[in-house]
Amino acid sequence: MNLFHEKSHATTRRHFLGKFGLGALAFSLLDGRAASAALSGATSDPMAPRAPHFVPRAKRVIYLHMAGSPPQQDLFDPKPKLTELNGQPCPDSFLQMERFAFIKGHPTILGSPYKFAPHGQAGITTSELLPHFQSISDEVTLINSMFTDQFNHAPAQLFLYTGAPRPERPSMGAWATYGLGTDNSDLPGFVVLVSGGRQPDGGKATFGSGWLPSVYQGVQCRTVGDPVLYVSDPPGMDRAGRRRSLDALRDLNEKQAAYFGDDETLTRISQYELAFRMQVSVPDVMDISKEPPEVHEMYGTAPGKQSLANNCLLARRLVERGVRFVQIFDWGWDIHGTGPSDDLITHLPNKCKEMDRPVAALIKDLKQRGLLDDTLVIFSGEFGRTAMNEARNGSTYLGRDHHPHCFSIWMAGAGVKRGYVHGATDELGYRITKDPVHIHDLQATILHILGMDHERLTYRFQGRDFRLTDVHGKVVKALLA
C-alpha cells in the first residue's frame, strides 16, 4: 500500500475504497494484512496477490475432505489389539463421561477386518484397502494424533474449516484468499469441488466467506451443468454476440462513469471484462476431456461425470493455473454400519477404491510436474471413529460411531516432512498417547506453511479482531520440513 505515500498517488487509496465500496472494512483489510509489504498490493483489486507475512513454504493448497470421516483404524492407524479383543465388551473407562452420537448401552470392540503392512522406504504401515497410497506413503506426513472438539458432522466440519462449530465465520480458503489474493485473475481464487452426490454436511458455510467480503467465498465448480454458475451465455448467443453486447455495455458504462465520476463504475466495467475472460478460462480449465489417455488411466477419470477422480484431476489443473485454494469434498464416508450402504465390509472398500487411485495419482502427478514444490495437499475427515461397533438398533452390519478424541489425517507437498508419522494413540486407538494435534493447531500450521502468522491474519468484525484459530492454535513445528 506504499504507493499511497506519494503525493502523485494520493488518490489511489481512495480509489481502492471507492471501487470496492468495502468502506471501513477495506481499511481493516489494508491495515490488517496488505499494508506491510514493500511492493505488494499496490492495486485496486481485493483478489490481487499480496505478500504473506513471511516467506511461504507453499503457495497453494489442495484440501481433500472425506465427508463423514473414514475410520482411522481401518486405513492408517493399525491396532492389532482391537482384532484380538474383537467382539468383547469395551473397557468401562471408554464410556465414562462420554457422549456418543448413536452408541447406546455397552458396545463391543470392533477389530479391523483389514490387513496392514509397512510400505516404502519410510515403512509407513497402512491398510490393504489403500494399495495406491502405499506407493506415495514416502511423500506424506501422516498424523495419527489429530483431535477435535466436535462429534457431529456439521459442527465438526465447520470447526475444521472456520474455527467455530456454528456457521458464521469465514472458511480456511476464504482466509487464505483474503490474506494472499489469487495469482490468476481469470479464475476464482478459491474453488470448491464436490463429489459423492452431496454437499458437505456443514453446508456452504464450510467454504463460505462468513463476514469477510463475499469475494472471498469459495466458488463451487461443477462437473455437471455450468462449471461455474451462469458462466454460459444464454441459448442463442454466441461468443461473438457476447463480445458485441459487452462492447456496447462498456461504451455506455464509460459514458456513465464520466457523468457520475464514480470509480465503482470503472470497477464494474473491468469486472465485466473479467467475467468475459472467465467464460472462456473456466470451461477450459474444467474440461478434462483434452487430457491424454494416460492421465485418465492414471487418475481413473471419466469426463462428464461427477467423481472424486475427476475432481482430483481438476485440482491439479487448477493449481497448475495459479488457483490459491482448492477444496474437495467427497461424501459417503460415514461408516456407521446401519445397513449395506454404510457397512465396514461392503461399503468402505468401495469408497476406498473410488478414492485411493485418484488421490495417489494426484500426488504423483503434482510431483512429476514439480508442483508439489509449492502446493500443500491435505487429506482428512472431520473427526475419527470409535474402536467399538456401533450396532445401532441391533444392526448386524459393522460400523463405527463418531469419535472426536483421535483420528488420522495426512499432508503432502510443500513445507511438510516426507515419510513421517506424527503422534500415536493407545493400543485400542481410543485416545492419543503422544503429540496431540488439535484442529486449531492444524489451522495454524496450514497458515504457517502459506507464510502467514495465524495470530496476525485478522479481520475486524463487530469490534473484535477475529482469526481462523480463534484464540488458540500452535504451529506444529515437528511437521515442517
Binding site: K19, R198, P235, E264, R268, Q462
Partner: protein, 814 residues
Amino acid sequence: MSGSVGRVHATSTIHALATAATTLALASGLMLGLGLPRASDPPPDADHVDFNADIRPILSNNCFKCHGPDEAKAEGGLRLDTLEHATAPTKKNNRAIVPGKPGESELIKRVSSSDDDVRMPPPEMHKTLTPVEVATLSKWIEEGAEYKLHWSLVPPVRGELPAVKNTAWCRSFIDAHVLARLEKEGLSPSPEADKETLLRRVSLDLTGLPPAPKEIDDFLADTSDAAYERVVDRLLASNAYGERWVRLWLDLARFADTKGYEKDDRRTIWPYRDWVIRAFNSDMPFDRFSVAQIAGDLLDNSSDDDLVATAFHRNTMNNDEGGTDDEEFRSAAIVDRVNTTMQVWMGVTAGCAQCHSHKYDPVSQHEYYGLFAMLDQTQDADKPDESPTFMVGTPEDKAKLAALDAALRDREAELAASVAKNDATDAGKAEVDRLTKARDAARAEADAQRAKLPSIPIMRERPPDQRRTTKIHIKGSFLNQGDPVEPGVPVAYGNLRENQPRNRLGFARWLVDRGNPLAARVTVNRWWEQFFGVGLVETVEDFGSQAPMPTHPALLDALAVEFMDHGWSMKQLCKAIVTSATYRQASRARAECMERDARNRLLWRGPRFRLDAEMLRDSALSAAGLLSSKLYGPSVFPRQPDGIWAMPYSGDSWVLSAGEDRFRRALYTFIRRTAPYPSMMTFDAGSRESCLPRRIRTNTPLQALTTLNDPVFVEAAQGLARRAVLEGGSEPKSRAAYMIRLCIGRTPRAGEAERLLSLYEGELAHYTAHSDIAIKMATDPLGPLPDGMNAPELAAWTVVANVVLNLDETLTKN
C-alpha cells in the same frame, strides 16, 4: 522519619534522605508542587484532546483487551477503562496515569519504550502505538486525563441547531447539521438532483422498485412545490413499502424457511414474515413492534398477531441431526437470542461476554448471563416438532377445523365401538369397513383444513413451577456451569424500571425505554444506512468503544430524539430523511470534494451505490413487466440451477413454482440456510444463519455473470424486449429510449440511444442470418413468441435489453 515512611512511599523516603533534603523541605515542596500553576495552560478548545474522539479509540484498540472492563483479565492488576482504576497504584506500585503528569505516568513510559520487555502492548500483540498516538495520550494526561462516559452511553438529547451560512439550502434539521459540518470543512453541498433521478431514487428506497413510466410522467407534470412530498406519501402508503423494508428486518431476524444445521429441514414460519410486512405497512410504532417480537406472548390480552410476532426469536436454528444433545442446541439458541437482541436494538456486540466479561464494552459475563436468564424461561427446547407452535388462521377457519376434528373423533369412536361390538362375521366386517372408510374420509377432510392453517413456532413462557435456574457458562461452555444468575440487564445502559417484571417483557420494555441510550440511535442509524449507503456510525452493528465516532454526532442524536418524539414512527423517519435537502442532492462527483472526502462521509453529494440483491432482481422483473404483485403467503421457488440442493440426509428438492409465483418479489423466495438462493448470495445477501446487521457490498465478476446469464435475468431481458416492442413506439430509437426509461427512469443522454441502436442493428442482421438461434434468444426460457412478433427482431431486442439491464446505472441507485 518513621512518620514520613508511613505517609510517603518507602523508596521515595529513602531517596529523600539520601539526598539530604529535610523532611520540612520535602513537605513544603509537595505542597508547593500541588499549588503551582501547571507548566502550560490548557490549549484552546480546538486543540483540546477529546477522550471519546481521540483517546478511547487508542485505549480500546491497544489496551482494553488486557486492561479493560474485563475484571478477570486486568493484567498486572491494571484497568484503563476508568480514571479510578487507571490512577490507582498497580501491583508493581506504579501509577499508569498521573493526571497532569505524563512524565510520571507509567502508561506513557510503557507505550513509548523501545524495549520489548517493557513496551506495551507487548510484542506478541503485534501492535505498537504510533508516535502521534503516544503524543496524543501524553497531551491528554497533561490536560488532566479526563475520562468521559462513552458517548453511546449518554441518552441522546436534541441539541441546538448549528448555525449555518447557507440557510436557504436547508429544508430540515438534518440539513442544518450536515451543512454545518460541510461549511466547517470548507465544502458545499451539491445541487438538487433532477426530477427523474430523484423519483427513481426515492422509489427504490421506499418501495424497492423503479418508477413506472406513468409515475414518471405524473411527477414531471406536477410542478407544484408539494409534488415531491406527494410522491413520498404515495410510496409510503403502497404495499411495496413494507415489502422493501422487511428485507432489512429479516436479515436482522435471521428469517429463513429451514431449520439450519446439518439436516436443515423445512420450517413453516412465513406468517412471521407477513406479520413484519403488515407491521411496516401499518406503520406500527417501533417500540410496540419491538415488544411484540420479544415478548408478545407476555402482554396482557395478547392477540394472535402478538403471538405470531414472537416467532422473531424462533428463527434460531434447530438441530435435528441424529445424536445431538438438545440442551446444547437449546443453549446455543438462547445465546443467539441474547446476541441478536443486543445487536439489533443496542448495537452492542454482547456475544463477547459469553465466555468472559466484554473486553471493550461494559457488559460483564455475569450481566450477559443475566440477559440469558431473561430469555431462558421459554418452552422451546430444540425439539424436532419445534413445539410450542401456534396455528395461524381466521376464527372461521379455526372453527371449521374444530368442527371437522370433532367429527373425526365421532367417527373414530363409532369405529372403535363397532370393532368392539362386532365379531368376525361378514356383516360385522362390512360394518367395520364402512366405518373405517368414514373415519378416513373425516381425517382427510380435517387434514386438508389443517393444511390451510399453518402452525408456526412461537415463544411461550414455562409455567412458574418449571422455571429453569440459569447458571454462568464457564468459558461459554454449556457443559461447564458456574454460579446461578438472576435475570438482569447490563446496568451501564440503564436499569430495569422498578415496576417492570424481570422477564422477557421487562427486558423488551427496557430496550425501548426512553432512557435507553441506544435503541433509537441504533435504529435511526440503520435506516440512515439504507438511504445513504453508510451509517452516521459506519459500524451499524457496533456502537461500542471499538466503533468509530459518528460523523455527525449531533445529527444522530437529533434524529433519535425526533424518532421517539414522533411515536417511534418508521414512516415518519423515512419521510424526514427523504424530504431533506441532503437526500435530494445530485450524486455526481465533484473533483474538489472527491479530493477531500471520496467516500462522501460528509454528504456533499447524494447517495450512489449498487442495489441490494433483492432490489436488483425485483427491478429487472418490474422493468420487464413480469413482476407479480401478489402479497404474502408461503415462500416460492423461482428458477434455480439444478444441484444446489443436493444435501446429505435430505430428499428435499427444489420444485419450480408455477405461474406468477416464479416472478414474485425476491423476499418471498424460499431460503434454505445451508444452500441459499445462489444469485442473491452472489450479490451479498446472507444465508440467514445468524443475525446479519450489515451487508458488505462487493463488485465481482460472478455478479456480472449472474445479471448477464442467469435465466431469471435472461427472462427479464426477453420480457423487457417484448415490452419495448409493444409499448415503446414503432421506431427502434424510441424503443431503445423506452428501455432506458423502464430501467433507469430517465430519458437517454446524448449518444446512449444511438449506441443501443447500433447494437440492435448489428444483432438484427446477425439473427436474421441465423434464425435458428434467434428463436432461442427470443423465447428460451420466457416462452413462445407473442402473436405478430418476429424472432430475429425480438432476439436482437433481447440482446439490447440484456445490455440495458446490465448498465451500471440500472444496477445502481443514482
